[in-house]
């Protein structure tokens, strides 16, 4: 039985249907990310779980208890906000102690809880400081400690890393995941950053237009996208148009060149869209690969990776190759041959 159950959740804001029949089961201790573009309804789902928004219909159950009609303060949740939301009039220790004080815990337990949480976030000596005396990363760690101090059943993270600079963001996401694993707390994380979602989550829910487009582990979401939207939103995707020659044999024509996928294509389509990840395409190739000739239009250097854009007959293909100091990447205008394995080609549905 799921620890957190969202059943047929719907939310209207006036005539605007923001969340449409949303279902999700989250196991105890699982880290699930709601990923999607702005306005896809992910934050609204989180706010309904928190109790800040009332669902138009549907049910929310936490640990078997129906909390749909309960106030936020009765739901036993902890939440971390994008804007930190630390209480400016309280010190770090007072912020962390707030939930425990409200719950009427004894003084000794509050002090011990605050010490434990500050140690957990590696800020044991900053209890006496005020929020404005901390950096953004430190403030967000304190917000995490505050949310966890009262040992909530569910932790809700509303884009907690968005306001931080890139380097802090990377280190803090590792830290948040480690703390979540250590405490085994069920967590819902909302982000529009696919890299965060892919690196942190046990499962990802990709949302669009208030609907869950696909739910699955990061590996599956990235490598086997269920819809065209998921394929386009998660990671970079090359798409080339191809004409079907023989659907049963998987033979297609790209530009003037004929390629064979070695597997059947869903019948009844004259043209299909082939999708390829940039890292699945190479310059050169191995025996058995599909090869297409083209011209380099752009080369961009990303440190460890060099992205080469090649114009082929069916469209434009981005190719990611590891940076190698010993070999020069091709220059713009150069003729090259790109290659990819038939098994790496995705045929996109709608």
């Amino acid at each position: 039985m799921a620890f957190l159950e969202l059943s047929a959740l719907q939310k209207y804001f006036g005539a605007n249907h923001v969340v449409r029949s949303f279902d999700l089961d989250v196991a105890k201790g699982e880290f699930v990310t709601l990923l999607g573009p702005s306005g896809c309804g992910k934050t609204t789902v989180l706010r309904m779980v928190a109790g800040f928004e009332t669902p138009s219909s549907g049910q929310i159950r936490i640990d078997g208890r129906d909390v749909t009609a309960l106030r936020t303060s009765q739901r036993d949740i902890g939440m971390v906000f994008q804007a930190y939301a630390l209480f400016p009039n309280m010190t770090v220790a007072e912020n962390v102690a707030f939930g425990l004080r409200v719950a009427g815990r004894p003084r000794a337990e509050i002090d011990a809880g605050v010490r434990e949480m500050l140690t957990l976030i590696r800020l044991p000596d900053l209890g006496g400081r005020y929020p404005f005396q901390l950096s953004g990363g430190q403030q967000q760690r304190v917000a995490l400690a505050r949310a966890l101090a009262a040992r909530p059943k569910v932790l809700l993270l509303d884009e907690p890393l968005s306001a931080l600079d890139a380097k802090i963001r990377v280190s803090l996401r590792t830290e948040i995941r480690a703390i979540q694993r250590q405490l085994g707390i069920t967590t819902i994380f909302v982000t529009h950053d696919q890299e965060e979602a892919l690196s942190m989550s046990d499962r990802i829910v990709v949302m669009s237009g208030g609907v869950a487009e696909q739910v699955g582990p990061p590996f599956e979401i990235y490598n086997r996208p269920a819809t065209r939207f998921v394929a386009g939103f998660v990671g970079t995707l090359n798409q080339i148009a191809a004409e079907v020659i023989d659907a049963g044999a998987g033979r297609l024509a790209v530009g003037g060149a004929e390629i064979a996928l070695g597997r059947a294509i869903p019948p009844g389509q004259g043209t299909v869209s082939l999708a390829l990840r940039p890292e699945a395409v190479g310059l050169g190739g191995r025996p058995g690969d599909i090869r297409l000739a083209g011209e380099v239009s752009e080369v961009s250097f990303h440190g460890s990776v060099v992205r080469v854009r090649v114009e082929v007959a069916g469209g434009s293909i981005a190719v990611d190759t590891f940076n190698n100091a010993a070999s020069r990447p091709p220059a713009a205008g150069e003729r090259v041959e790109i290659a990819f394995a038939p098994s790496d080609v995705l045929i996109l549905g709608d």
């Binding site: 800040f52 949740i77 906000f81 939301a85 009039n89 707030f98 409200v102």
Partner: protein, 260 residues
């Protein structure tokens, strides 16, 4: 030329405000013939009626501040959080005491709460004090509401509220421990303005026949020469001390409010 005009306007403004003050203060020191002395102040401060009326007005001012905080802080908070579209309406309502003269308010009170009405508050001293207190709270509403609303503008009310709710806090805890401390400087500004207004208020206290400092000032002014000037200086000093305290509490605030 522009610079010269600016300085001229500034000096004119200073003279406009400072000269009457200087003249009044100088006059209040001339009670003893031929020399400057503090005799007028000694007489005033030693007058039992001064002590009684000043104490009465001080207590009323403090009670007005309490009532104002209890009414205005939750109202301004609620409007900002849940009824932002009603803000212009609420602001207009809070400005009404500046438009409607106090004498109209008092006559309204007397008509509604006289001894032959269904709630005869004017029939007892305690009832009339309560009526005066409500009148003072109404008079201070524009200043208190604006001060608190400006304070709320400097913090992210919604997120702080939601953060406190997610930690299990109810409305009373949120207001008392999260919102009020973060707008305390603004509340104190409103409180000091309220204090300054109530201490010198005349119309309401006189028409409700309460022993307040305002009517005492008027009484002294009608019957004495130097003492009214000394009293006016004292009242002026009280007001300026209040203003000074506003800037002091702002300067000594320990924390910086979260940006919105």
């Amino acid at each position: 030329m522009t610079r010269f005009l600016a300085w001229a306007m500034f000096l004119f403004g200073v003279a406009y405000f400072a000269l009457p003050l200087f003249g009044m203060t100088e006059f209040s020191l001339r009670m003893r013939r031929g020399v400057y002395s503090l005799d007028a102040y000694r007489v005033v401060l030693g007058d039992p009626q001064f002590q009684a009326t000043f104490a009465y007005s001080t207590v009323m001012a403090l009670l007005t501040i309490v009532v104002g905080v209890l009414v205005v802080v939750p109202t301004a908070y609620w409007v900002r959080l849940y009824l932002p579209r009603l803000r212009p309406v609420v602001e207009f309502i809070t400005l009404l005491p500046l438009v409607i003269p106090p004498i109209v308010i008092v006559f309204g009170y007397l008509r509604l709460f006289n001894t032959s009405s269904w709630l005869p508050l004017t029939g007892t001293a305690a009832g009339t004090n309560l009526l005066l207190l409500m009148g003072y709270a109404t008079l201070s509403l524009p200043y208190m509401y604006r001060a608190v609303d400006n304070g709320l503008r400097t913090i992210d009310v919604r997120t702080l509220t939601e953060a406190a709710q997610s930690l299990g806090a109810g409305w009373a805890t949120i207001l008392a421990r999260v919102i009020l401390p973060n707008v305390l400087v603004a509340v104190l500004s409103g409180a000091f303005l309220t204090f300054a207004i109530v201490i010198g208020e005349f119309v309401m206290a006189a028409l409700l026949n309460r022993p307040a400092f305002g009517p005492y000032l008027q009484l002294m002014g009608a019957n004495k020469a130097y003492e009214p000037a000394a009293l006016a200086v004292i009242a002026f000093v009280v007001t300026w001390v209040c203003m000074g305290l506003i800037s002091l509490v702002t300067r000594f605030q320990k924390f910086t409010p979260a940006p919105r």
